[in-house]
Symmetry: C2
Subunit: 109 residues, 2 copies
């Protein structure tokens, strides 16, 4: 792949979360097809690191499918909720009803 560094003038897509029925089966599929690193996995979701961003595999009844964007002023969107990993974020809907998570910029991509 042609290498490229991040474009600091633009915001970053921290992760995308897509729905799965069976997390373990989906993790197996992705790690068999692609070079990914498994950052987290339980029965309700998993986080797979790609070279430039992460893919979350989520059971929809437990975690909503969404995209996660790192924003330099996430608090401007409303009160953030702090997660166990120390990151803080807020969920909103885009104009089309898609769920978008806004993450503080201390979240590594």
């Amino acid at each position: 792949m042609k290498q490229k560094v991040f474009d600091a003038d633009l915001d970053a897509l921290h992760h995308v979360a897509i729905p799965v029925e069976n997390v373990a089966r989906a993790v197996d599929w992705y790690r068999n097809q692609f070079r990914v690193r498994i950052a987290y996995q339980d029965e309700t979701w998993a986080l797979l690191k790609f070279a430039n961003t992460s893919l979350a595999l989520v059971v929809p009844g437990q975690h909503p499918p969404h995209i996660g964007v790192v924003h330099p002023n996430a608090r401007s969107f409303g009160e953030l909720k702090t997660h166990r990993d120390g990151t803080a974020s807020i969920y909103l809907k885009d104009s089309e009803g898609n769920a978008v998570e806004i993450l503080e910029d201390n979240a590594y991509v």
Copy 2:
């Protein structure tokens, strides 16, 4: 945002395509919320560049929601279809039924 270069040991997520009802309205929403660059836009889909990957906004009847992964040996997945922009890819389904586009590694992230 903390800067980071690509991890060359992992494959890259080239883009994610999420469904929208109205492309123009969605583009307006995203560019009002985030620092993105509009790489392409028509009435059926748009491509927004983030710092590290791209977000496609697609009208589902015209273009399927999916994730796009750059793979060093995309042809191992089957015969690729060449697109107008010179990239070549193949669509498949993951184990959960999500659409996944595999792109040749000449596709810039």
